[in-house]
């Protein structure tokens, strides 16, 4: 399978002079076509930064990001799902979904069709004319997903999209996301601080750690998804990733002490 995203020796830094903070030095991450990759890591390691560099919201210093996606005028190759409450409160739900369609080559009729389709996909068909404040946190997050899907991207970047939701809503949305992923065959890079969520969703779990950060571990999750909520293998995998994370935290702390 071909990689849809591949970063090669990516370097990112903030600030200048003594305040300079090198987030990555040589970061190599790839996502295969149709793959669901989750990214966990030491807090502050730069998980969100990586997504933003790939989405071209933050510049990289060195290295390259290859995005092997079809370039079509009516689509955007990459779309991002943000943490909760990233809807524009002054736009109706429909207008929020069309945000990414303004500025690319989509006819009005097609635009309406995409709004209807993505609302169907996230199970909120009748919500088009409402305002964001009228929706619950979970519903708003679904609209965030619909907004990303509307640009018909090959790649979805998801930045802790369920982090601020209650446990029940989160579980529901995880399953919903897996269904959407199967239906749309998107490639997904999903950042989370919740290891159980990472193991539940991912084909592969990447562990980001160290300063500057790099992928310190990589876990393949070869457990059928219908056996993932509980069961020996699933719980073992979670423990394995947790152990890796604790090790990474210890290493990061040591590095920091060394100066």
């Amino acid at each position: 399978m071909a990689a849809v995203i591949e970063t090669k020796n990516l370097a990112v830094a903030f600030g200048e002079g003594d305040a300079r903070n090198v987030v990555f030095h040589r970061l190599n991450v790839s996502v295969e076509e149709g793959e669901f990759v989750t990214l966990v890591g030491v807090s502050g390691a730069g998980k969100s930064t990586l997504l933003r560099v790939i989405a071209d919201l933050i510049p990289s210093l060195e290295g390259s990001i290859e995005v092997n996606a079809v370039r079509v005028p009516s689509r955007r190759p990459i779309a991002m799902v943000f943490q909760a409450d990233s809807l524009m409160p002054w736009r109706t739900i429909s207008q929020n979904i069309t945000l990414g369609l303004e500025g690319i080559d989509v006819a009005d009729a097609d635009m309406q069709q995409r709004v209807d389709h993505t609302l169907d996909l996230v199970g909120l068909s009748d919500f088009g004319n409402r305002w964001p404040y009228q929706l619950s946190g979970g519903e708003r997050q679904r609209i965030g997903i619909a907004r990303a899907l509307a640009v018909e991207p090959d790649i979805l970047l998801m930045d802790e999209p369920f982090g601020s939701l209650d446990a029940i809503t989160r579980t529901g949305l995880q399953d919903e996301l897996l269904r959407i992923w199967r239906e749309t065959k998107k490639s997904i890079l999903f950042v989370t601080h919740d290891i159980e969520e990472a193991v539940y969703l991912g084909d592969r779990v990447l562990l980001l750690g160290g300063t500057p950060a790099e992928i310190v571990r990589e876990y393949r999750v070869d457990i059928p998804r219908n056996q993932r909520r509980e069961g020996e293998a699933f719980l073992r995998k979670i423990e394995e990733v947790k152990a890796g994370l604790h090790e990474a935290i210890a290493v990061t702390a040591n590095n920091a002490n060394d100066g």
Partner: protein, 250 residues
């Protein structure tokens, strides 16, 4: 409290106040021309309308007020937005604004007369000053308070040029603040309109000074209430428009 109870209490308060005023004014404790009873105001209104004064004065004041409001609001909002967007512009205006802002609009009256004479322009100029500062600072604050995360969201969905971000995020995000500044300016304008006319420019203020000179105090009170009425109407209309624009707020 039930809405009807509230309505009844509010009305009662007003009626009790008017009755007390009427009784006090008729008691002979004060000379009637020092405090005319409220019952003299409706006749005063009728006579002012019959003589054609009320319409002319209100119309003149409305004109000064409207020109001053539009001028002060447009300049205030525009400059406030620009200053908030560009840190260098903000830094260069910091001391200047600190010096100019505390100067009361009425302190500009001498220069208004020197520059524009006893003209409508002079009145509109004075009115616009107070409105300008209110809008300048609220618009600046409103733009600075726009959620940076939403700007990032817009950029992620392809809106990366400055005009696009301004149109899609900054202005709609700042709209509630800008509108509340406009509303405050609407009130501030009525406060200066009378003073701006006291030095002879035709309008409510001028008529009040004339009437006071003749001790026609019921006419003075009539125009005081006329201002309250005009302010009430303009504020009501504005709030209606504001609610329509901000329907997206809970």
């Amino acid at each position: 409290m039930k809405p009807t109870t509230r309505y009844v209490l509010s009305s009662t308060g007003l009626v009790v106040f008017l009755l007390f005023w009427e009784g006090f004014a008729r008691s002979g404790i004060m000379e009637p021309h020092l405090l005319p009873p409220p019952s003299t105001i409706p006749p005063a209104l009728i006579s002012e309308i019959n003589e054609g004064f009320w319409q002319v004065m209100v119309w003149s004041s409305l004109r000064h007020y409207t020109i001053g409001f539009v001028l002060g609001s447009v300049l205030g909002v525009t400059l406030g937005v620009v200053v908030a967007l560009f840190p260098r512009v903000e830094a260069s205006q910091a001391y200047l604004a600190r010096i100019l802002r505390p100067i009361p609009p009425l302190a500009w009256i001498p220069f208004a007369i020197i520059w524009f004479g006893i003209t409508e322009t002079a009145a509109a100029f004075i009115i616009s000053i107070g409105i300008f500062w209110i809008n300048y600072f609220t618009a600046m604050g409103a733009v600075k308070a726009v959620d940076k995360d939403l700007i990032e969201v817009a950029r992620a969905f392809g809106h990366r040029t400055f005009p696009a971000l301004l149109r899609k995020v900054i202005l709609p995000g700042a709209a509630p603040g800008i509108l509340s500044g406009l509303r405050a300016g609407l009130g501030q304008g009525w406060m200066t309109v009378v003073a701006a006319e006291l030095f002879g420019i035709q309008g409510i203020g001028q008529r009040m000074i004339e009437a006071a000179g003749l001790l026609n105090t019921q006419v003075v009170i009539l125009y005081m209430f006329s201002i309250a009425f005009l302010y009430g109407v303009s504020d009501y209309v504005f709030v209606r428009i504001q609610q329509r624009i901000l329907a997206w707020q809970r």
